[in-house]
Symmetry: C2
Subunit: 318 residues, 2 copies
């Protein structure tokens, strides 16, 4: 199979009225809708770094898109288009069929069109650039947190980091817990519907990819505020709590990454509307802290004692 056969047989599939020219020219052309801003994000995933080299192609096809869609969710944006670049060691039809299967399943689920990209030979590496739409002037930025805001989190946090330790052989989980953690690690579900509901409500937001404490730190720095984070209120799969000492649970929840849940702040006055947004989007929500004066993040347990983390999150070059 040649590069061109791959592109035409595997990638040219969709129809989208706003795409004036799709895959197959020097560039794709889209017509932005009036009254909208566009937002852009790129993520590069490298075999052996962001996923194990023997991970199933269906799981890669899911994750490579999910982590990018999650960035759109974190802005409150509606994902519209993606460009996929990939280096493959070889063009293996069976592998590519499985990879493209979950990729296009998800593209279609979110109403996203693949409009371009690049393929080359090399160590398995993916880069997706995603383009989303926002109503002009609205966006969930990191810089909007205000004194007195509640700090909220979607879903359950720490399972992806637990799964990673499971893969690395550091911990052995009961089968049911392992399957749930694995699923969360391999097939994160971006919170697009929630992000859109939060657009008129939340002051600041971001998705949790590098660890809850580090990611909350980004919001604090960008907003020039401090926060209390109530460690024992951060939701987790209940059965996972019994699988490890509390320090390990906290490390998975606060310093682990790959959760792709939405962390956001919003004023007390909209609590009921936030909970309604959770209902409307089918997303569990929990209040896990408070924006306070200063610049520091104070992590507290339910007894009011302060918790100090060994590391706050992930840095590729740290």
């Amino acid at each position: 199979m040649t590069e061109f056969e791959f592109i035409y047989n595997f990638l040219v599939r969709q129809h989208d009225d706003d795409v004036l020219l799709g895959i197959g020219d020097d560039a794709a052309i889209v017509r932005p809708r009036a009254g909208h801003d566009l937002c852009f994000s790129s993520d590069m995933l490298v075999s052996g770094k962001h996923f194990f080299s023997d991970v199933a192609p269906e799981d890669i096809g899911h994750k490579v898109l999910a982590v990018n869609v999650s960035d759109m969710a974190a802005m409150g944006a509606t994902p519209r288009w993606v460009l996929l670049s990939a280096a493959f060691p070889e063009l293996d039809t069976l592998w590519l069929n499985k990879f493209c299967g979950t990729l296009f399943e998800q593209l279609s689920q979110y109403g996203i069109s693949l409009i371009g990209g690049d393929t080359t030979k090399g160590n398995l590496t993916f880069n997706i650039t995603i383009v989303g739409e926002l109503p002009q002037g609205l966006a969930l930025k990191r810089s909007g947190a205000k004194l007195g805001d509640d700090v909220w989190i979607s879903g359950q946090v720490g399972m992806a980091a637990a799964a990673l330790d499971g893969y690395l052989g550091k911990v052995v989980f009961p089968e049911a817990v392992w399957q749930e953690c694995r699923q969360k690690y391999l097939r994160p579900v971006p919170r697009v519907a929630l992000g859109r509901e939060l657009l008129p409500l939340a002051h600041a937001a971001q998705d949790i990819s590098d660890g809850l404490a580090q990611d909350l730190g980004h919001i604090l720095k960008a907003s020039g505020v401090g926060a209390e984070l109530w460690a024992d209120r951060v939701p987790i799969l209940p059965a996972l709590r019994d699988c490890a000492p509390v320090e390990q649970i906290r490390a998975w929840q606060l310093s682990g990454g790959d959760d792709y849940e939405l962390l956001f702040t919003a004023p007390e006055a909209v609590r009921a509307q936030i909970l309604a947004a959770g209902e409307a989007s089918g997303t569990q929500l929990a209040r896990i802290g408070k924006i306070i004066e200063g610049t520091k993040l104070r992590i507290l347990d339910d007894a009011g004692g302060e918790i100090h983390l060994h590391k706050t999150g992930f840095d590729h070059f740290g």
Copy 2:
């Protein structure tokens, strides 16, 4: 140096009124100008495949952007924004300073803002996604070639392929020739100004990256036409002609890649305007063929004899 220090110290530099939110959030936000379409392209460059692993960081900084800007030139678009993803084996300050030096020099030359991307650890790999603007409804597509069109090429073709053979030790060139070919290979100059001038004139266009014959083949296929290509009319550095047998020269010119010149077709009626567009953009232009009936590409020498190529161009998985 951490990933975040790299981003803030090296990448956050520019101001652009249409960028509402730049690097540092989950996504960047831009406001498209009314009356414009947007066009998108991505190129992935892998060390050891698209450039030699020991190439100077300044040269990589130039090329990684130039090949993407060239895609915008080929659409007649004005490049506006880029997202840069990179896998680095390590964050080496000296190397990054040199790389960012030529990268930002070029960004500023073309009026492009860096609005996002990703950095990770891995084999040296770059992916740039570029976003350009087109006046609504105008674009230089591959599919517009018409019977009777002239086939045109900008600049000189074949020097990049000759340089590659020089690097591989297959050919030794006189110093002056070597320097010119090397420059063309390492520092291609995208034809942005020419592309814009051609927007109301040309019927079809693309940039030459995989080999002139193969790339012209793409225009023919997309347009449902055939062409004559006059091999002896394809411009080359005159001194290079004396460095190799004519078969080798033709292979460099017709099957070599990496030239990043514009190949385009336009009706005879606008010949004078095409030449004026070349003047206005400071670009040498040559008429090298004719669009004819059928679907075939016939390559002819000046005596009218047909030339058959061993290979028409480059395929990463061929």
